[in-house]
């Protein structure tokens, strides 16, 4: 399977499409083509058995054409000669009658990428049996608890060619496992993303999830209040996701719908945020062909940058940061591989510990809390106001009361209503873990990298009774 993922075929498709446009629309046409081949395979388990096992391979050609002051995008998965010609004909026909686009930012000029992307041959060639073996290990390690989750692999090769001379290719392979163990009415979770399937140990993850579930039986209900919290990396990932989507998104900033103000110390000095698609599991260029490099968005608490595509960059009088989404994505240029830099310390994996904190890094943060909550995961978080980034959502997969530096017992899930930037504001961050965990997004190829975090206050507004 991996032999198909060199990027060469995608580059040929992209170049042929640009040439078709040139022949049909003439040299004045500004065309860009992003072509990718994605093979994803996902083995899903529930009730401790594989209940869904899927795979697909899709090649997509995306054409954006600017002609006579007007812009149209089109895409197709029908990539034979007739399919490509049909795509080009449709887009040219549409661009001649669509309304003007005075904000067209022009094509990306030629620029080399700095790295071709991460690739692991063994992961790219992984079979359904390889994924099933990890599921088997997860189920066995849960020791009789009911389990559910998935193990997936995703091969992604892409090429970008435009009529201004930019031509780049890249590829990446990613894998992830995410599972819960369930027993006695309690759920525990473990999840991990990586560029190598060899890093995914179903037994380790299953044991972690089971330890959490066993420690979560017979929870008590706590009254809504502000509590000090230790957020595990799985919960921090949700914070990063929403900061990325609503906060550092150049479109939101340009429209004054974001809290982000470059140059201002908006976060605690412990907070440094870096978006790094090329160094993570993303492609080394964006959907406009702009090369990607690591971008520091917050440096020791000070907001330093926001993400742009060519259109938002033009509006802001700056240059693209390589965050253009697919042209049909209405959200704007948001970070998609955001990482919270951990506290200085050893880079090796922390030791597994018994109990719900599961690793020594998190347990160390817990040991410093006089009274607070250990939070594993957030669920169904939604924005109440994008400007202040006040979110509501619930805890999930394990909450425990901490007293005098020790976990004293499980707590029922709580609803919160909390401004995320405020939770990370100067003085609010009481500690960071020393190692970041790479976590998969549940909905798209994004990844989030986070250590555990100790925060002074989190505003819980309701308990399980409503």
């Amino acid at each position: 399977m991996s032999a198909d993922f060199t990027g060469g075929a995608e580059q040929d498709l992209a170049a042929r499409t640009v040439e078709l446009v040139r022949r049909a629309a003439g040299p004045a046409a500004q065309a860009e083509v992003f072509t990718d081949r994605v093979a994803q395979a996902l083995t899903r388990f529930a009730n401790s058995a594989i209940h869904q096992n899927v795979a697909d391979t899709t090649v997509t050609v995306r054409l954006r054409l600017h002609l006579d002051g007007r812009t149209v995008t089109g895409s197709t998965t029908v990539v034979d000669e007739a399919g490509l010609r049909g795509l080009v004909d449709r887009v040219i026909a549409a661009v001649r009658v669509c309304p003007p686009d005075p904000g067209w930012p022009g094509l990306t000029p030629p620029a080399p990428i700095t790295a071709p992307g991460r690739w692991d041959e063994a992961t790219a060639d992984a079979s359904a049996d390889d994924r099933a073996a990890r599921v088997r290990a997860f189920v066995d390690a849960a020791g009789g608890l009911e389990t559910a989750g998935y193990c997936r692999t995703r091969n992604w090769s892409a090429a970008f060619v435009n009529s201004a001379g930019q031509a780049v290719t890249g590829r990446t392979v990613a894998t992830a496992m995410d599972g819960v163990a369930r027993g006695g009415g309690a759920d525990g979770v473990a999840r991990l993303a990586s560029g190598r399937l060899a890093d995914i140990d179903g037994a380790v993850l299953g044991a972690r999830a089971a330890a959490k579930a066993r420690a979560g039986v017979d929870p008590v209900e706590l009254p809504p209040d502000r509590y000090e919290v230790v957020l595990e990396p799985t919960a921090v990932a949700d914070v990063l996701h929403n900061l990325a989507l609503w906060g550092f998104n150049g479109r939101m900033v340009g429209e004054r719908r974001s809290f982000a103000e470059p140059g201002k110390p908006q976060f605690d000095p412990a907070i440094t945020l870096v978006d790094d698609a090329a160094g993570g599991l993303g492609l080394p260029f964006d959907f406009e062909g702009t090369p990607r490099t690591a971008l520091t968005l917050v440096d020791a608490g000070r907001t330093t940058a926001v993400t742009h595509d060519r259109r938002t960059a033009a509006g802001a009088g700056t240059t693209s940061t390589g965050h253009a989404p697919p042209a049909d994505n209405p959200w704007g240029p948001a970070p998609s591989n955001l990482g919270l830099v951990p506290a200085p310390g050893p880079g090796s994996a922390p030791a597994e510990v018994s109990g719900p904190a599961v690793d020594a890094d998190t347990a160390d943060l817990v040991s410093r809390v006089e009274r607070g909550l250990l939070i594993t995961d957030f669920w169904y978080t939604r924005v109440l106001d994008p400007r202040s980034l006040v979110m509501t959502g619930l805890t999930r997969n394990g909450v425990w009361l901490i007293e005098d530096g020790a976990v004293v017992g499980p707590v029922r899930n709580l609803r919160f209503t909390q401004s995320y930037p405020q939770a990370l504001a100067p003085g609010a961050v009481l500690g960071l873990g020393r190692r970041a965990t790479l976590l998969p997004d549940s909905w798209n190829p994004s990844t989030w990298s986070a250590p555990a975090v100790r925060l002074a206050s989190w505003n819980f507004t309701g308990g399980a009774s409503g």
Binding site: T43, A46, N47, S48, A49, I50, H51, Q52, N53, V54, A55, D56, T58, T73, G74, S75, T76, T77, V78, G83, G86, R90, V91, V97, P99, D101, P102, S127, A128, A132, A133, V135, E146, A148, Y150, R152, D178, G179, R182, D187, V189, E255, R257, A327, D328, Y380, L384, D385, R387, S388, V390, T392, L394, R396, R415, W443, T461, A464, S465, G466
Partner: protein, 478 residues
């Protein structure tokens, strides 16, 4: 080679490779979307995708494989690959399962369509959106947005049990939004709903929405909301408008009655359900005013079809009758595990995705009152409408929803506008407190329901009317 031929070849290849059941679905979809922002068309996209997805059953284990090629060789390879994947599934097997028995069916179906939405001139569509955003800008919106989407989908389904079904479903719709930006917060008003309104209809649906008639109003309301008093906190009588009721039904009834969730198949991601199958037929879900139906036969609603993606013909079914829980959304495999005798609610969002339990049109039957009668009958309460935020726990019990706009109700009259209205509750307790229900129903269509891994986006319909609830906690703030 026809699309039926490709599907037949894939099914035969899966059987030849050892599957005891197989089905194949060829889909060809064209999609068009346009959006305008602050008086300019910002984005026009047209896409086409086509391919075949094959599902195979080996023992009690499933496999699925999909490719974008429709040649005989590609179809046969996909069938064989689906069977290989099913064999791998069998290494971590579950309980014996299969499919509830049905007869193989042949049939064709097409959704109603008066005006082909893909044939309407792009300039006319662009003018409609630009005009609406210009009107909103002129009436106080800092950010004015308008958009539409069109899907034109053809499907060909074949199974090893003799199904041979083709369908053409044309869907479209759109919406407009005005955002006012204040010093510390933003306020937004939308029409006709926060995500627009969609249906299995032609462009006549968009024409009937009449954006021009509502653009100025929603922009003015968004601006007014910046200085309106905050929604008070406390417990009160709550009247919800029809659009918010559609969301309430979707989140706290529709997802809760999905059989795959009840069986734990979505436990790790979308969550489970508070419902226990042992209580089907007896559980009190809500007040006696509560009658919820699962009805993919409603002409023009977004959750309508002729056959689901397992070939089961569309049929209406009760989910809640006079407040009692009586039905679920099911597929043939989940129904077999649960011991039920019906299916018909399985769909996939494309050829490369596995069909799964999905809401069709899950709607609340109307009641005897009007919205004005409910307001007149309320001494002290709040009216809220148009969803702004939605969050509910993984068992579909504890919810907190925010609306774009609220009004206080005093002595039977609608009073001041309120900003940032929110309400919270527990599903069954909330539904049991419903004491008045309007007759003013509308088949709201939402095209963006996320579920499943790999993620799928579902199109669902929700007939809903305004309703009144007592003793509801409102005004939760951060």
């Amino acid at each position: 080679m026809t699309h039926f031929d490709a599907a037949t070849a894939a099914v035969q290849a899966a059987l030849d490779a050892g599957a005891r059941y197989a089905d194949a679905r060829v889909m060809h979809r064209r999609h068009e979307s346009m959006s305008a922002r602050n008086g300019e068309v910002e984005r026009l996209g047209q896409s086409e995708d086509a391919g075949i997805g094959v599902r195979a059953l080996v023992g009690s284990s499933w496999g699925f494989y999909a490719v974008p090629e429709l040649s005989d060789a590609a179809a046969r390879a996909a069938g064989a690959r689906a069977t290989e994947i099913a064999a791998a599934s069998a290494t971590v097997p579950g309980r014996d399962s299969g499919l509830i028995p049905v007869d193989g069916r042949s049939g064709s179906w097409a959704s109603p369509c008066e005006i082909d939405p893909l044939s309407v001139a792009l300039t006319d569509k662009g003018d409609l959106l630009v005009r609406a955003t210009e009107t909103m800008r002129a009436n106080g919106a800092d950010l004015a947005e308008a958009d539409y989407q069109i899907w034109d989908t053809a499907k060909w389904f074949v199974s090893s049990e003799g199904h041979r079904v083709d369908q053409r479903v044309r869907e479209c719709g759109g919406g407009i939004r005005a955002t006012a930006i204040g010093a510390d917060e933003t306020q937004r008003r939308s029409y006709p709903s926060s995500s627009g309104h969609y249906g299995t209809q032609g462009w006549e649906l968009v024409g009937a929405l009449d954006f021009d008639a509502h653009a100025a109003r929603i922009a003015q309301e968004a601006r007014e909301l910046l200085t309106a008093p905050q929604c008070p906190a406390g417990e009160t009588t709550l009247i919800l408008g029809g659009e918010q009721m559609a969301l309430q039904i979707h989140e706290s009834v529709g997802h809760a009655i999905e059989l795959d969730r009840i069986l734990g198949w979505e436990a790790a991601f979308a969550g489970t359900s508070w419902l226990d199958l042992g209580q089907l037929g007896s559980l009190r879900y809500g007040s006696e005013l509560m009658n919820v139906t699962i009805d993919p036969t409603i002409a023009g609603a977004l959750g309508s079809f002729g056959f689901d993606d397992e070939g089961t013909p569309a049929a209406r079914r009760d989910a809640v009758r006079e407040g009692r829980w009586v039905g679920v959304l099911a597929g043939r495999d989940s129904a077999a595990v649960a011991g039920l005798d019906y299916a018909g609610s399985v769909r996939a969002d494309g050829w490369s995705r596995l069909p799964m339990v999905r809401m069709t049109n899950v709607g609340l039957e109307p009641g005897p009152h009007t919205l004005e009668e409910m307001i007149a009958a309320t001494d002290d309460g709040v009216l809220m409408d148009v969803n702004r935020s939605w969050s509910i726990d993984d068992q579909r019990l504890n919810f907190q929803f925010g609306c774009e706009i609220g009004w206080e109700i005093k002595k039977g009259r609608r009073g001041r506008m309120l900003r940032n209205p929110t309400y919270t509750g527990i599903g069954p307790l909330f539904w049991r407190s419903m004491d008045m229900l309007s007759s003013e129903t509308f088949p709201w269509g939402t095209p963006d329901c996320g579920k499943g891994q790999p993620g799928q986006v579902g199109h669902t319909g929700h007939p809903a009317a305004p309703a009144r609830f007592t003793g509801v906690r409102i005004g939760v703030r951060g």
